[in-house]
Symmetry: C2
DNA sequence: CAAACATATGAATATTTGTTCATACGATAA
DNA sequence: TTATCGTATGAACAAATATTCATATGTTTG
């Protein structure tokens, strides 16, 4: 009887499968939200961007100073700022020739804080 | 006088730079922690792994059932489980031929929750 | 023991991604 | 306006990564 599932043999009963599939169907976010979530965390998944965020934790800083503080090219920083801005992690404010960047909201702080907590476990 | 900074001309005074560099030096985590942080978030930065985690939010599940629930190859799932396990986001428990996977701790839940909150802003 | 099942893993491939280089854009000052 | 400064951006290249395929490992059953 079990072999009639199309070769599927894993686990004891088919009930478990149906139950799981049902629960997954109910609680799994929509395809677009899953994609956006992954996209968001991808932004945090680069040490250069993380370092930029740590600087912006302390002050509102222009591109040039960010580049200097992190010992990186203005272009490299600018490219990363663009990604951070697109994902609404930071925002830019123009003041003459400068553009000063700062955190967009406090989720950035709490997400990174949670990450640090996880890492600092033994 | 400003030109003597080695061509550096940005921003009004050199004080700002020194101040920023000092603050950054004080508050920036160590190189290894920054790398580990980025590495952790990189793990969340893939929709397949996110989907696996959402399944494990609901139940302890074996590899085969995960593959079935997510309509993916056993091999693809296994590769991703390895990454999740290496970063201590999940843990495996052997029971006969099966290996049941579950969340390692609650940081996983809260990190993803924070991510969803950020996304669900207008 | 051999056979079957559940899972893991190495190699190969296609795609994604971060940095560099050159250049363009926008604002200000002369 | 022209020159200069601060920033943005497109193309190119190298490095990282997710999936597939084939195969190996480990466990149970006959």
């Amino acid at each position: 009887m079990h072999e009639k599932m199309g070769g599927v043999e894993c686990c004891e009963t088919t009930e478990v499968h149906e139950n799981l599939l049902h629960i997954v169907e109910e609680t799994m976010p929509e395809e677009t939200e899953l994609y956006d979530l992954a996209e968001l965390f991808k932004v945090f998944g680069d040490s250069t961007r993380i370092r930029i965020l740590f600087v912006l934790f302390e002050a509102e800083v222009c591109v040039f100073d960010l580049a200097e503080a992190l010992h990186m090219t203005q272009s490299a920083i600018s490219h990363q700022l663009r990604i951070l801005k697109q994902n609404r992690l930071i925002k830019g404010r123009r003041e003459g020739k400068h553009i000063f960047y700062s955190l967009a909201d406090d989720h950035v702080r709490s997400i990174i804080a949670q990450g640090r907590e996880h890492i600092e476990e033994d």
